[in-house]
Symmetry: C2
Subunit: 142 residues, 2 copies
DNA sequence: TCTTGACCTAAAGTTAGCTTTAGGTGTTAT
DNA sequence: ATAACACCTAAAGCTAACTTTAGGTCAAGA
């Protein structure tokens, strides 16, 4: 069992944030001894999942829903699976989007390298190499 | 030349947002005829870049800085290149992070498919297939 | 004893990125 | 002439995810 300070150290998450998560219902069934929070293995795993789901762009209130489902037992397996499937699809879409953003950034880097080298922006587009051209085109269509 | 309403239609960005961007200095040198904003090719390209940089996670105030550099001419090529290089690195890091998040989500999907199939969570970890195991391990280390 | 340190709460404050509101101008269709 | 539009501004409001503040409890060490 860990105190809030220890968990904060372990995960590098501010104490105020842990308390906030608790307030928001992200640790349903968190134990207390005379008012003091006691974090067990269950809460540590919860925190790992919270960090993952947050990185995936999920909102706190939806993470709370998941934690409630976990506390409810086997009957909620389908809901939990559905949630992870949806989130997986969302992250895949986001990854794809980011790849195209990266294409645009690659193009812009190349562009300013050229501008810097030739001391101006005149006619840069004409000497677009094939590989950068691909990036440029991908970045400009939806 | 386009009015704010036309640009809003073209890009699918709310008029209020375009005015907000203008207020924040994202269109330095935007023309006006008797108070009314006139968007030209320069502003459309700016908007394309804004959308890209926003997707890359850049804040409005940093995008503003870039637009100011553009308005300043050739002397700021180095700054602009630096900005795009930094942002490219940031997006590459974010992509890597998201891949690991996806690994965790893949693992969770597999996990709940198993739990659902066998009606419980007992001993699931023991039958982790190699491919999922990799995902699980990657997702749990920093 | 007293003070230091780790915990607690409720409530107010913060930040980014918008959106909404309230009120006003100028042109065009009825 | 009057109403409908598309534009304008300043300022207030909103949401998410925290953080800060102000005040309080309790146990251990000097």
């Amino acid at each position: 069992m860990y105190t809030i300070g220890q968990v904060s150290e372990l995960f590098g998450v501010p104490i105020s944030t842990l308390r906030y998560y608790d307030r928001e219902g992200l640790f349903p069934g968190l134990e207390r001894t005379s008012g003091i929070r006691r974090f067990g293995e269950r809460e540590l795993e919860a925190l790992r999942v919270i960090e993952c789901l947050k990185r995936s762009g999920m909102e706190i209130k939806d993470i709370k829903q998941f934690m409630l489902w976990c506390a409810q037992g086997k009957e909620t397996y389908p809901e939990r699976l559905e949630l992870f499937r949806r989130q997986k699809a969302a992250v895949e879409a986001e990854l794809h989007q980011l790849e195209r953003t990266l294409d645009m950034l690659r193009f812009k880097c190349w562009y300013y390298e050229q501008a810097l080298a030739q001391g101006g922006e005149e006619g840069i587009i004409d000497l677009l190499p094939e590989e950068i051209k691909g990036a440029y085109d991908r970045a400009h269509r939806d």
